[in-house]
Symmetry: C2
Subunit: 212 residues, 2 copies
């Protein structure tokens, strides 16, 4: 359990590393092989020092003096963030948002794959939607444990959030990303991340208003 040399990396750095990787992949697709801290920084609207700090924390040094090696860095971040064997993800609620997320993800991450969906609408169950098999929520325990799924994305309507989360936790889900407008409750051993689109939009609206 203690082979983990990266134990004390701040949450925010983890988040940024994931974003660095994405930016690096975009750069790599454009044919770049090396990149400067200030280039990464510009892409993410942060400072170059910030980037260097983060890379320092994961122990990466710009190999030659033409910046960082993009492929090396993508690999190193992968080693830190990804689970070596890969992780499966289930999505709960196959509405517009659920489908949007599945499409969004399609083939983006080898080590993190959305493999099943759940819904309670019979028209959406026992078939494939957006390329992944979709089951009725009552099969949750069976499928989640058979597939060894530990991560769930919650995209059901707000009024079903609590109940669905209860079932997810019961079935053994250990990490939940809640896109529902409803705040939910989970036991201590379940990692919960909530994201609310309304708050994000309100924040944008607020700052637009402030500028006159």
């Amino acid at each position: 359990m203690e082979n983990n040399r990266y134990k004390n990396i701040p949450h925010k750095t983890i988040e940024r590393l994931s974003q660095y990787r994405r930016a690096l992949q975009i750069a790599a697709e454009k044919g770049k092989t090396n990149i400067f801290s200030h280039e990464i920084a510009a892409l993410l609207h942060i400072t170059a020092v910030q980037v260097r700090r983060d890379l320092m924390l994961i122990g990466y040094s710009g190999s030659l003096r033409k910046g960082y090696d993009i492929n090396d860095l993508i690999h190193l971040i992968g080693e830190l963030i990804d689970s070596p064997k890969g992780q499966k993800v289930a999505i709960f609620g196959m509405g517009d948002l659920g489908r949007a997320i599945i499409n969004y993800f399609q083939g983006k991450r080898e080590k993190l794959q959305i493999t099943v969906g759940f819904d309670i609408n019979p028209e959406k169950t026992n078939r494939k939607i957006a390329g992944i098999p979709c089951y009725h929520l009552e099969k949750i325990t069976e499928i989640i444990s058979n597939e060894g799924i530990k991560i769930g994305i919650l995209t059901v309507p707000g009024d079903q959030a609590d109940e669905t989360v209860r079932l997810m936790v019961e079935a053994g889900i250990k990490g939940i990303l809640n896109y529902t407008p409803t705040p939910v409750e989970v036991p201590d051993d379940v990692y919960l991340e909530e994201y609310n689109m309304i708050s994000s939009l309100e924040k944008v609206a607020f700052y637009v208003k402030e500028k006159g």
Copy 2:
């Protein structure tokens, strides 16, 4: 311009205030009229002191000693966050994600309304989608300025993000919420908020992995 008594409220507090309001509305719907700081805190998974601090910053005092008056507080937050005349929002890209956001928002906020959508697919233009009129992107300048829209949500495919943002800025959009996987660039006078679903999911996956 300087009637703004709340000028120096931290970004994070703004974000939380928006979330408080949502939580308060949920509580109000359940028939509650008063609420304690620790109750709000529990809903958002933060501390009670944090809540009291934030409310202190906006100058609200728990009226009687049975906590805060929910309606008063909802109103006060609204006064701070909302624009008095209301703000219109346009959505760019009417795919699954675009539609999901529109539905999500339906009737949630009186002062913040998604009023038009844009797309480049002829099958999606010149008709209503999810209840709002949808136009071809080439009409952007005309419609954005006629309607006085300053806020845009970006939900186009990643490879169209840059170009769409360019058009948005040109048309006079001053705040952008980018749901695209592509980081974009805007002038200084445009407020940009980027959200990446992949990073969020990777973060959840990381902490699930860490717990073993």
